[in-house]
C-alpha cells in the first residue's frame, strides 16, 4: 500500500471508460498526480471513488474538475466526499490571481509618465510642506505656550547626545586616515609638517560637517521618516488632528529644530575628534608631539574655516530633517511604503547635502574665505 494517490482507467462492460481513483486525495498528495489527471483525454462514463481513503476540498475540487471536463457519473463516494464535492462544485472561475499587467512597452512609457507627473506633484507637495512649516513656526511664535519643549528635548537627546559615540568613533578614524595617508604623500616633498594644515583645515571646513550630516541622515533622518510614516499608518496623526493638535507643531517642528540645533554642535565635535585622531598619528608616526600638533592647528587654520563649517551645519541639519519628516508624512497605504519612504528620505538627504556642499565650497572660496 503506498501513501500516495493513484488512478487507473478501465474499460467497463458497456465499452465506456471507468476512471478508478484510489488512495488519499488530499492537498498533500494531489501535487504528485495532478498533471497526469490533466492529461486524461478520453470521455468517461464513470468516476469510481470507492477506493479513495481520504478526501479534502482540494481532492473534491480535482474530482469535480474531472467530471466537468470529461463527464461521467461519480460512484462509490463516501458521505464526506459527497458533502465536500457539493460544497466546491460551481466554484470554478478564471479571474487572474495577479492583477493584469500591460505589455512591456506600455508599462515603460507609463512608468516614465508616472515619474514626470509624480515629480511635479512631489515638488508641489514639498512647497506645500515648507509652507506648512512656516505656518507652524508662525503659530508657535504667536503662541509660545503651544511649543513642545519636552518633545524638543527628547529629540535633541536622540539626534545629538546618543549620536556622540558613533560620530566620535567615525571622526577619530577619519582623522587617523587623513593624517596617515596625507603624510605619505607629503613626505615625497619633504613637507610632512604640513599634515597639520591638511587635517585641521579639511576637517573643520569640510569633512567634519559633511560626514556628520551623512551620519545624521542615516541615524535620525531615517528614524523621522519611519516614525512619522508608522504614525500615519496607524492613524495617530489623524487622531492628533481631531484633538486639535497640529502634527506640524507637535511632530515635525521639534524634529527639524533638533536637527538644526544639533548639527553645528555635532559637526564641531566631529572636527575636534578628527583633529585628535590626526594628532595621535602625528605623535606615533611623524614625530610631531601630540600637543605641538594641537598648538600648530591654532596657527595654521584660519578662523573662517570654523565659520564655514558652522554656517553649513544647520543648513545640512535642516535638509536632513526636512527630507525625513516630509517623506514620513507622505506615507499612505501599506507597510511597504514606510520602507520605501525611509530609503528615499536618506538618499535624498545625502544627495542634497553633497550637492549643496559643492555650492558652498565655490561660494566661500569666491568671497575670499579660501
Amino acid at each position: 500500500m503506498s501513501a500516495g494517490a493513484n488512478f487507473s482507467i478501465e474499460q467497463d462492460s458497456s465499452g465506456g471508460n471507468r476512471l478508478v481513483l484510489s488512495g488519499p486525495y488530499l492537498v498533500s498528495t494531489i501535487g504528485a498526480i495532478d498533471q497526469d489527471l490533466r492529461r486524461v483525454d478520453v470521455a468517461l462514463s464513470c468516476i469510481d471513488l470507492s477506493n479513495v481513503t481520504e478526501i479534502d476540498t482540494v481532492g473534491a475540487w480535482a474530482i469535480c474538475a474531472l467530471q466537468r471536463d470529461h463527464g461521467g457519473e461519480v460512484t462509490g463516494a463516501s458521505e464526506r466526499a459527497e458533502r465536500l464535492m457539493a460544497a466546491v462544485a460551481g466554484l470554478d472561475g478564471n479571474a487572474p490571481i495577479e492583477p493584469e499587467r500591460a505589455p512591456v512597452q506600455l508599462r515603460v512609457t507609463e512608468a516614465i509618465g508616472d515619474k514626470v507627473v509624480n515629480s511635479g506633484v512631489a515638488t508641489l507637495n514639498l512647497v506645500g510642506f515648507l509652507g506648512l512649516i512656516v505656518l507652524a513656526v508662525g503659530a508657535v511664535i504667536r503662541h509660545p505656550s503651544r511649543f513642545r519643549g519636552k518633545a524638543l528635548v527628547r529629540q535633541l537627546e536622540l539626534v545629538g547626545v546618543s549620536a556622540l559615540g558613533i560620530i566620535g568613533l567615525m571622526s577619530f578614524l577619519i582623522g587617523i586616515v587623513i593624517a596617515q595617508q596625507g603624510a605619505v604623500q607629503l613626505q615625497q616633498f619633504g613637507a610632512e609638517a604640513l599634515t597639520v594644515n591638511l587635517v585641521g583645515r579639511i576637517t573643520l571646513r569640510e569633512l567634519g560637517v559633511l560626514m556628520t550630516a551623512i551620519m545624521v541622515a542615516g541615524r535620525s533622518g531615517s528614524a523621522f521618516a519611519a516614525q512619522l510614516g508608522t504614525m500615519k499608518l496607524t492613524e495617530e496623526v489623524d487622531a492628533m488632528r481631531t484633538i486639535g493638535i497640529s502634527p506640524m507643531e507637535a511632530l515635525v517642528l521639534p524634529r527639524i529644530l533638533s536637527a538644526v540645533l544639533m548639527m553645528p554642535l555635532l559637526g564641531f565635535y566631529s572636527a575636534v575628534v578628527a583633529i585628535i585622531g590626526g594628532a595621535v598619528i602625528g605623535d606615533l608616526t611623524l614625530g610631531i608631539p601630540f600637543f605641538t600638533f594641537l598648538t600648530r592647528i591654532k596657527e595654521v587654520v584660519p578662523l573662517y574655516d570654523l565659520w564655514v563649517g558652522l554656517i553649513k551645519a544647520p543648513v545640512f541639519g535642516l535638509i536632513v530633517a526636512l527630507a525625513g519628516c516630509y517623506q514620513g508624512m507622505q506615507v499612505k497605504g501599506n507597510s511597504e511604503e514606510v520602507g520605501l519612504r525611509t530609503t528615499m528620505a536618506v538618499v535624498q538627504a545625502i544627495f542634497a547635502v553633497i550637492v549643496l556642499d559643492a555650492f558652498f565650497a565655490v561660494f566661500f572660496t569666491e568671497i575670499g574665505w579660501g
Binding site: T57, V58, V88
Partner: protein, 285 residues
C-alpha cells in the same frame, strides 16, 4: 475501513485526526515578568465542535490561543494538538501539526504586498511545492469563493478590501491547507450586524461541510448563542467553566451571570428565541 482507524504515527500527514480531543491543555502557566496570566489552566476541545472562548479583557484569551499554536512558549504546562505535544516539540516536529490548522488573526494579518489570491497560495507553496501553478491558482480561487468572497476579489490587494472582506480573505488563507482545526480570533469584531451574522453562518457551514474543529475567541454574544456548541469561560487565570450556555447559567458564578444576564446578553438571547420562532415561516433565508 478498519485499517484506517488505526493511527499510524509515521504516516501522520495523510490521515485525519480521529481522536476525541484535538486540543488538550494541561496545567498551562504563562507569566510575563511578575504578571501571571494563566496558572494551572486546563482545557479540552472536542473534535468537530465550535468552542467559544470568552473572558474579560486581559484574561489572556489571545495568549491562550498563541500558546496553543506555538507562538508563545508557556512557562509551564503541557499542550497537545492532534495528540502531539506542542510545548516540547522541535520545530521540525511541529511542522507536521502546523499544516493541519488554520489561524485567522484579529486584523486578518494578510500580507499587504500580495493579492488575496497570492495570500492564499503562500501556505500551499510553503508546504506543497510540488503543486503546479494552474492547480495552485484554481485552489486559491475556489477557497476565496468558499469563504464567501466574489471571484474578482482574488486579484485585489488587502488595502482595497473592506474590513469584512479582509476577514473573509484571512479565512480563505486559513482554509488554504484544508485544516482540521480552525482558530478564529474575534472574527466578528468590527463587522456590521449583517456581516457578523453572515460570518457566523459561514463558520457554521464550514464546520459542517469540512468537519472542522473551531476554537473561537469572541465577545459577540450573538455568535456565542448562534453557533457555539460549548463555551469556555476564562477568569481568575484559568478556565473556570466549560459547557453549553445553559450549563454555564446554572452555575452560580457572578462574572458568568453578569456576562450572560446583562442587557446585551438578554438581547442576544431574545433575538435567538425570535429567530427560532420565525424559522418555520421564513424558511432557510
Amino acid at each position: 475501513m478498519s485499517e484506517i482507524d488505526e493511527i499510524d504515527p509515521d504516516d501522520f500527514r495523510h490521515r485525519r485526526f480521529r481522536g476525541d480531543y484535538p486540543i488538550v491543555v494541561e496545567g498551562l502557566e504563562n507569566r510575563f515578568g511578575d504578571q501571571v496570566v494563566h496558572e494551572d489552566l486546563s482545557l479540552q476541545v472536542r473534535r468537530r465542535e465550535i468552542l467559544g472562548v470568552v473572558g474579560g479583557s486581559g484574561t489572556g484569551k489571545s495568549v491562550l490561543m498563541r500558546s496553543i499554536i506555538g507562538l508563545q512558549t508557556p512557562s509551564a504546562g503541557e499542550i497537545e494538538v492532534f495528540g502531539r505535544s506542542i510545548t516540547n516539540a522541535e520545530p521540525d516536529q511541529q511542522l507536521g501539526v502546523r499544516n493541519r490548522w488554520g489561524v485567522l488573526f484579529q486584523g486578518g494579518a494578510l500580507f499587504s504586498t500580495l493579492t488575496v489570491g497570492e495570500n492564499v497560495e503562500v501556505p500551499l507553496r510553503q508546504f506543497y511545492p510540488d503543486i503546479e501553478e494552474d492547480l495552485l491558482h484554481e485552489i486559491a480561487r475556489f477557497k476565496v469563493m468558499l469563504s464567501g468572497l466574489p471571484e474578482e476579489a482574488v486579484s485585489k490587494y488587502p488595502s482595497e478590501l473592506s474590513g469584512g472582506m479582509k476577514k473573509r480573505a484571512g479565512l480563505a488563507r486559513a482554509l488554504a491547507l484544508d485544516p482540521e482545526l480552525l482558530f478564529l480570533d474575534e472574527p466578528t469584531a468590527g463587522l456590521d450586524p449583517i456581516g457578523a451574522a453572515n460570518f457566523d453562518r459561514l463558520t457554521l457551514e464550514l464546520r459542517d461541510t469540512l468537519g472542522l474543529t473551531v476554537f473561537l475567541i469572541t465577545h459577540d454574544l450573538d455568535t456565542l448563542y448562534e453557533i457555539c456548541d460549548r463555551v469556555a469561560v476564562l477568569a481568575d487565570k484559568k478556565v473556570i467553566a466549560v459547557g453549553t450556555i445553559d450549563e454555564l447559567l446554572a452555575l452560580d458564578h457572578p462574572w458568568i451571570q453578569e456576562y450572560f444576564n446583562g442587557p446585551r446578553g438578554r438581547a442576544a438571547l431574545a433575538s435567538k428565541a425570535r429567530a427560532k420562532m420565525d424559522k418555520p415561516a421564513t424558511g432557510g433565508a
